[in-house]
Structures are given as C-alpha cells and as structure tokens.
C-alpha cells in the first residue's frame, strides 16, 4: 500500500518483530514529488514508549552501533530509504509483542507536508 498526502508518498512500510519491553524498527521508502525538499523530524506511535529516528553505523573497527538523528531530508523529486542496516524509525520499550502479521499505526511529522499517519505490518 502507498500512503500519499500532497507531495509525499510512503511505500514499502514494514517493521521487525519485537518483544514486549524491547525494541523494533520500522522501514519504508519516502518519496518527495515536490520541487522543494522536505524534512522528517519526528515519529510517534502508541505501540512504544519512545519513538525516534535512528541510524545504524559501523565504526572504523567494524563494530556496529546505533545513534539517534534529529531529522532526515527527503530531496526534491527524490526519495529517502529507511532500510535495514541504515536509517530506521526506532520503537523503544514496546507495549506489546510484535509478531509477524501484526499491524500498528505510526505518525510521521514533516516540516512541510505536516503529519502523515501510516500503518506498518510486522514481517
């Protein structure tokens, strides 16, 4: 399903399984059909106590880690991928188990497009 509002399309939305009290990650492709960039700066969901934008990184010694980022910019007439091993929406302290097939709601906040509500499926 493609979620579209004004000039922003959001497709290929899915989430990792996660255990109650643990974490999960949500991935998607955000397309910007406008001629100006837009910025995703916040996400929220009732499924978790905290929701943030995160990025997985590899340090010089090959260790893997994660860090919070304040925003991501979706280029004009372009797309930004939230994908495994890269950027993702981080769900922390899940309020219930997320098993394969479960769906839940998530809100994304853009500087220009405003709030966009989407549904993610656990895969």
């Amino acid at each position: 399903m493609i979620w579209m509002l004004a000039f922003i399309d959001i497709a290929d939305i899915w989430a990792r399984p996660g255990i109650k009290g643990g974490n999960s990650a949500v991935y998607m492709v955000i397309r910007n059909n406008d001629t100006l960039p837009d910025t995703l700066y916040k996400a929220s969901s009732d499924i978790a106590a905290m929701v943030e934008i995160h990025k997985t990184y590899k340090d010089k010694k090959g260790k893997m880690g994660m860090e919070r980022v304040d925003y991501v910019v979706i280029p004009p007439k372009g797309e930004f991928k939230l994908e495994p091993g890269g950027y993702h929406i981080m769900l922390m302290k899940l309020k219930k188990n997320l098993r394969g097939g479960k769906k839940f709601n998530l809100s994304l906040y853009f500087k220009r497009a405003g709030k966009i509500d989407i549904t993610a499926e656990v895969k």
Partner: protein, 193 residues
Amino acid sequence: MRKALIFFAFLISCGKGINYSQSFPYDKGYVLFDQNGKERKLDEFKGKVLVVGYIYTHCPDICPLITDNMRKIYKEVSKNGWSNKVVFLSISFDPRRDKPEVLNNYAKIYGLDTVKNWFFLTGNPKTIDSLMKDLSIVVEIGPMEVSESGDTIYFIVHTDRIHIVDKRGKIVSYFKGSEANVDDVIKAIRRAI
C-alpha cells in the same frame, strides 16, 4: 614479489569467511542458561559443528539481520540433512536484560522456539563478559536515555559476527553476521562436518 601477490590474493579471497585459528573456549568451564532456564555447559556442544551468532534482544536492526541469516542457514542445514550434526547458538551479550524468559519470548517471536538444535543462551554477566573476550566479540554499552515513563534505555555497540566451529572446537570461519552470504556459510559448514 610473486609470494606477496599470492598472499594478497589469499587475503582478498578470504574476505567473506576468513579462516581463523582461534578455539571455541570449551576448556574454560563456561556454564550458561538456555531460553528455558536450563543450565548449559558450553562443552556439552563439543562434537557438533556450531553456527554461533552474538546478539541482544533489544537490538532492532543489526541483530535481527543476524538472526534472519542464521534462520536461512538453518533451513539449508535442514535441507542437507545435517540437523543432527549442526547446532545453532545465539548467545546474548546483554545478560542483564536478556534473562532466559526474555530469550524464550524472542525465540517465539522469531518462530524458533520449536527448533531442537537451536539454543538461545545467556548467563551471569561476568561469565558473558569473559566469554565475549575469549571470542573477540567487542561489546560496548552506549549512552543511556530515560523515557518519559522513567525507563532507562541503552543500546550496545558490538561486533557483527557469526562463527563456524568444527567438531573439535576450532573456529574455522567467521562471517559478518548481518551480511553473511548463506552459500558461503553452507560451504564452510560442509567443510567443518
């Protein structure tokens, strides 16, 4: 010069599963606990080929990739009829949070709770710290955050690794856990059996 080129070519060819001379620490007397809370001496797995991944259940991005890759490897191992020769171990390096019941839930969520030759292991924090050092798995606790509800949240910077251990306890190959090529791992397992 020719020798140097051959050595360089060898290093490149080993990039996805570098041969290793380290031993799995069966001789250290490590005692862990599985996802059912049952005590597991590490040396009880000696004599089996091991596929060992290192994870923590609060990891949302890299560790699920490691578990997914191990699941793909497990399917190939089953297809090849090696299930009685190969054991899968997912060892948590976050024992303070990953108690047996948490690992049990994790195994269920990933549909791995009924797999007989797959164990999710945790242990005393000192034991796990020592085991990770023996296996050259680097584990660094990252910055802590406090949620609005007062929960402390932290992530771990860690080595991304899957080890293949042969029947004698020698680590014969290692792979980047989140990016491991299943065919390459299966070749390594075939050699180790």
